[in-house]
Symmetry: none
Subunit: 205 residues, 4 copies
Amino acid sequence: MEEISTNDTLERKKAMIIKAAMEVFAQNGYAKGSIGDIAAKAEIGKATLYYYFDSKEALFMEAVKLAYQLFFENIEKQVASLVGFEARFRALVRIPIRYIYEHVPILFEARNSFPEAYLAELETLQEYGRQRMRNNIHRLFQEGLAEKKVDDRFSFEALSNVVHDWMMMAELNCDLHERQMIMQKLEKEQDLLIDLVLYGILKRG
Amino acid sequence: MEEISTNDTLERKKAMIIKAAMEVFAQNGYAKGSIGDIAAKAEIGKATLYYYFDSKEALFMEAVKLAYQLFFENIEKQVASLVGFEARFRALVRIPIRYIYEHVPILFEARNSFPEAYLAELETLQEYGRQRMRNNIHRLFQEGLAEKKVDDRFSFEALSNVVHDWMMMAELNCDLHERQMIMQKLEKEQDLLIDLVLYGILKRG
Amino acid sequence: MEEISTNDTLERKKAMIIKAAMEVFAQNGYAKGSIGDIAAKAEIGKATLYYYFDSKEALFMEAVKLAYQLFFENIEKQVASLVGFEARFRALVRIPIRYIYEHVPILFEARNSFPEAYLAELETLQEYGRQRMRNNIHRLFQEGLAEKKVDDRFSFEALSNVVHDWMMMAELNCDLHERQMIMQKLEKEQDLLIDLVLYGILKRG
Amino acid sequence: MEEISTNDTLERKKAMIIKAAMEVFAQNGYAKGSIGDIAAKAEIGKATLYYYFDSKEALFMEAVKLAYQLFFENIEKQVASLVGFEARFRALVRIPIRYIYEHVPILFEARNSFPEAYLAELETLQEYGRQRMRNNIHRLFQEGLAEKKVDDRFSFEALSNVVHDWMMMAELNCDLHERQMIMQKLEKEQDLLIDLVLYGILKRG
DNA sequence: GATGAATGAGTGTTCATTCAT
DNA sequence: GATGAATGAACACTCATTCAT
């Protein structure tokens, strides 16, 4: 019992540090996101941080895992709350953008200073994320088929892969300090984009 | 005459340094791409580098400009060598990917450590790039219209904006050290994506 | 208790670093007195020094404060140990010389590389020093008057101001770029000083 | 003839550089007064400066010599234009202040980075200055005596030495590493000075 | 005579990491 | 468990000086 509650406290503390790390890395990037800032945000000493995590890389890995988890929790909850293929498809395209926008470039940056060991772990994590995303998309397209909304010209596998991969892209050439405006712009553009994907641009002859 | 050849040598040296900088920044990112590494790659002393450039930021700006220039030279040359709307559209989508993939996340990262003055210059440069890209896309769609290939349901402006913005996104969650494979994967995926954009996913009827 | 002894150790270490800084700056001046030398003299790592002090400027400020403190402790102790106006006046003139000789030109030099924030603090410190010195001089002259040793031809205020300013060898708390004003002030004061040298301050009897 | 005019040009150029150096050193101090700034102010290339002068120290020496020369030219011209002991004494005290104020702390600072060879030359230069100043003072006091204005209680030699040394704001021509001796000398001289302040130098009548 | 180009040696400062307590 | 204190290694940047032309 005591063990459990102790472990609980420990895990809760770890979680707090990871959350702080996620915020600091999201704001400043990997290189500029310093251990000192994270410790300060978590309101602990720098050395304490090293009691819980082996290195900056290890902590970053945990922050990435947390971001992934929040991302999927959010997306799946929202998709579940909607009805019909089109509505769900739109949601599935829209929601990832902010997460991608905030976290992916940092992932990218981090890779450059990562030792092999962590790169492999990162890869594994990303493969897991890709799979989960693909599942979501796959399920959605099957619903679309059942609803007779989706053209059956394309294979499911390829289609969900492609949609997933493009979902993982984002408008990057923007000012980090003006995220709100960008987000609004992106969200408006998405409607057009989605129309484009839904109806295509070529004339039928 | 002598003046010209002297300036020429000087400019050639500057260009070499910028090239070295572009490579180092592309490989290591902005924060981890050190002046020392760049100087070593350019085979000059660190202090010499400061004879040619005022600061790391200034040098980075030049590296970004070079990447932009190479990007547009490449894309426009390739598009010009192809015939017909579809072929050109495919090229215009495919080629940017590698450049975006290599340079955009670094741009992102750099912003975090950039002083106001350089941010403004960066913005200007990006606006220029956006405009030039938009022009390419716009011209292409007009050709598509003339060829009666493109559906006229969408406004040109909106359409070229959207296509441009999505063109500026890229598959980021990949291993920087295995770019070749990723690039191949991306290029395969793009065909499917392009089909998708060209024909849409919804059944007509 | 433990708190106190811990703080004590910390403060003692800080004090050691400040002392080392004071010595290095006194020997080499501000620009040539390097952080590395100070750390070496204090037998700590350079980075450790930055654990205790924010910057070279901040450390220099502390060194100046220490010099001031030692200066006044010394001068006031010695004056207190003597009897009679003449003896005390001699002491009050003699003692400052060494401190001025050792520290003032360095203060001067430092101003050139100091940011605004520290200049203001320096000003405050110097104003405090001026006041404390003026008090010492004023008290002494009142004693001299009481002893009927000092000629009452000069006003106390003006006299102690002038003696103080000249004792400080030059008005230092001035903007290097506003030398004209300072020069005018000094030149006015000089008349009083010259009277003093020409006629002396002691009553003839 | 041609030789002479060439030498003339050469000397004129040297003089321009020295003037620039004097100004830069006066403004920024020795350490912060950079060769680059001086070359820019003299409107020549940095390398050209090294064609005319061996090193920063050598150039500084010349700047000091120039300051000395201007100082004496100025002071002697002004004293000569005045009549009577008191007027001349006032001038002799007033004029040095600006020069001292502007140049002495820099001299001080420079010693710290000077190699032996230049320190000796500096010493020589200062000894020359001292002598010339002493002569001026000596002459003045003889006039004062002749005018029966000056009290004969003080020896000429001692008096003019003391006045000179104090005018120099502090005995500078000393080895920083042998401060003890200097301090002792100053402390002895102070007694004379203090007598002077206490009793004045003018005869009562 | 004049200098553009080049640099080695050094500066102040940062930061992930360790260790004694 | 927790941390204050300490640091090595690195970084961007400066500057007096040199050298080929």
